[in-house]
């Protein structure tokens, strides 16, 4: 079944000539037709564009085969990928899961997308997201909720839930997501795939429609660690069009995997604050078992402490909304998007935004406007930035003594659709283990480490310091190769 292939498997079959990119793309499009009525991962599909790009990739492959230069072709040549709908692709609708951008066509592509295209990747379409990436379940999408391929009654996580579900259901080989407080890692955990949130500044944010600019980062959702590494290698690097992108060399992230299988010499820290009362016991058991596997592979395990962990959630929910309230001021009904005409300019603004934004976006804009407003700025926004310093220092201190931190990605497995929609605070708590990392700007990933009694996937989160993605991926790869969680697939009844 071609749609079940990983990037690295498909790349070698494309090179050997056993399959073509058009065949691969057709197989994935057929898979989407068969299962996406149930999963609802995609907001928009672009099959004609995808098949055109696949035909180009086949021509590139044929030329390289004749010239004997196949080894020099990027691994993504002819690989069908999905893009989260907050990332711009020129001429393809980018709704951000919002009614306010229902008819918006980006006039340019994100740098990450241009890099994928330059590498020969095939773009299948845009995946569902919580509105403006604000949410943990895709239930805040203004269009529909994506369903978890492991249990269609449950959420896929969010906000990159469409991308995670598409990868889990084999509706793409891999996908781009974005992670502001866990939006790549948490859905990866809930859907049983690999989700990598790179270091802040590693990947250009140009063309990513901003939510919280000091936290946002584009990341990869993939079927295994090797694919996550390949995708990161393709999108990472300095971009003069994003002043927060860092000019640091981009290593070949997947290259070292075959040379050093074990974990001997690696120091892994286990933060005691990440095993809290109230978390699902099966999640704790699976994560502790995974840490045991890493010990058996030669890692040295140490208990560590990140003492300000319980403050990360309040800090995040002041800083991210404050930045969002400023970023989303651009949606005013004048230059793009929905415009609800009022009697005056001010009334046009109020009506456009009142009608165009959904409840969670309004909630965060108001929270942010309040935290930034006269009389409250010092007590909320400035104070949150100071506590952010303490949270970052916690990681700086611990990552001097250990190489990698291991902990759960999410306190529970996938919850039921509708279970948390009426209680924003309980929804926010689902990100309790992921958002500190964004505040510290460091890198982390989630990979499958087990299943609960209901058959739902559990995620192991690994964290490393700034630009330590090679070490992070190496540790994840060693664990993955010692286990077979990543080879399990959800049973979706394909419609015939």
């Amino acid at each position: 079944m071609l749609h079940e292939l990983t990037i690295h498997q498909a790349a070698s079959l494309l090179r050997s000539g056993e399959i073509t990119a058009v065949e691969l793309t057709e197989a994935v499009l057929a898979r989407i037709l068969a299962v996406d009525n149930d999963v609802k991962a995609y907001l928009a599909l672009t099959p004609e564009v995808a098949l055109e790009q696949a035909a180009e990739a086949d021509a590139t492959l044929a030329d390289a085969r004749r010239a004997g230069t196949l080894a020099e072709l990027p691994l993504l040549t002819g690989i069908p990928l999905a893009i989260k709908d907050v990332i711009s692709v020129e001429g393809i609708p980018a709704t951000c899961g919002s009614k306010i951008l229902e008819n918006y066509l980006p006039p340019y592509s994100a740098t990450a997308v241009l890099k994928l295209r330059a590498a020969g990747a095939v773009l299948l379409g845009k995946t569902n997201t919580d509105e403006f990436a604000m949410g943990s379940s895709t239930e805040n999408s203004a269009y529909f909720t994506t369903h978890n391929p492991w249990d269609l009654e449950r959420v896929p996580g969010g906000s990159s839930g469409g991308s995670a579900a598409a990868v889990a259901a084999d509706e793409c080989l891999a996908a781009l997501g974005t992670d502001t407080g866990g939006s790549v890692r948490q859905p990866a955990a809930l859907c049983g795939v690999v989700g990598l949130k790179p270091t802040y500044g590693r990947v250009s944010r140009y063309g990513l429609i901003a939510y919280a600019s000091s936290l946002d980062q584009i990341g990869s959702l993939a079927k295994d660690v090797t694919d996550a590494a390949i995708l990161l290698g393709a999108i990472a690097g300095h971009d003069p069009r994003d002043s927060t992108s860092v000019n640091a060399p981009v290593p070949d992230y997947a290259a070292p995997f075959q040379h050093k299988p074990g974990l001997s010499g690696l120091r892994i820290g286990v933060p005691k604050e990440y095993f809290v009362p109230g978390m699902q016991p099966e999640v704790e058991a699976a994560v502790r078992a995974a840490i045991g596997v890493m010990r058996d592979l030669g890692a040295e395990i140490r208990e560590v402490s990140l003492p300000h962990t319980d403050l990360a959630l309040p800090v995040y929910y002041l800083i991210a909304p404050a930045e969002a309230s400023a970023n989303l001021a651009r949606f005013d009904g004048i230059r793009y998007g929905l415009s609800a005409s009022g009697g005056s300019l001010w009334e046009t603004y109020r009506q456009t935004r009142g009608q165009g934004f959904g409840p969670e976006v309004k909630r965060r804009i108001m929270l942010g406007a309040y935290a930034l407003s006269a009389g409250y700025y010092d007590a909320y926004y400035l104070k949150a930035q100071q506590v952010r310093t303490l949270i970052k220092q916690d990681f700086d201190n611990v990552l001097r003594d250990v190489d990698v931190i291991a902990c759960p990605t999410s306190p529970t497995t996938a919850f039921r659709i509708g279970e948390k929609v009426d209680d924003p605070l309980s929804m926010y708590l689902t990100d309790i283990f992921t958002l500190s990392l964004n505040l510290a700007g460091i890198c982390g990933l989630s990979l499958p480490c087990g299943f609960d009694a209901a058959g739902l996937p559990i995620g192991l989160q690994l964290i490393a310091g700034p630009f330590e993605e090679p070490r992070l991926l190496q540790a994840a790869y060693a664990y993955e190769q010692a286990t077979d969680w990543h080879t399990r697939k959800p049973k979706l009844e394909a419609e015939s």
Partner: protein, 97 residues
């Protein structure tokens, strides 16, 4: 301390959001609960702690002042709800009266 209805209306006006009465009441309750939770940070002594606005050591990222081709006017206006003579059309911003 819970927010009042008039505080919520003030915040909505700062954010230029028209709200129904039902939304105003709902957000008063929800924002009050979230702010209560966020009050946990007030107990931390941060008198000697500098704020973190960005994790990067970057300041003033500069580039050479070279003119390069930009997006065409047509592309810039392609998504405009209302455009006229190559410009975005907006309502009067100053009251003539």
């Amino acid at each position: 301390m819970p927010l009042t209805i008039s505080e919520v209306e003030h915040i909505a006006e700062l954010a230029k959001l028209s709200l129904t009465d039902a939304e105003t009441a709902l957000y008063r309750d929800q924002l009050s609960a979230i702010l209560d939770y966020a009050a946990a940070i007030q107990r931390v002594d941060t008198s000697a702690i500098p704020p973190t606005a960005t994790v990067l050591p970057l300041r003033n990222v500069l580039r050479a002042d070279h003119v390069t081709p930009a997006m065409s006017q047509e592309d810039v206006l392609a998504n405009a709800p209302d455009a006229v003579e190559g410009c975005f059309r907006v309502k009067t911003i100053l009251d003539a009266g």
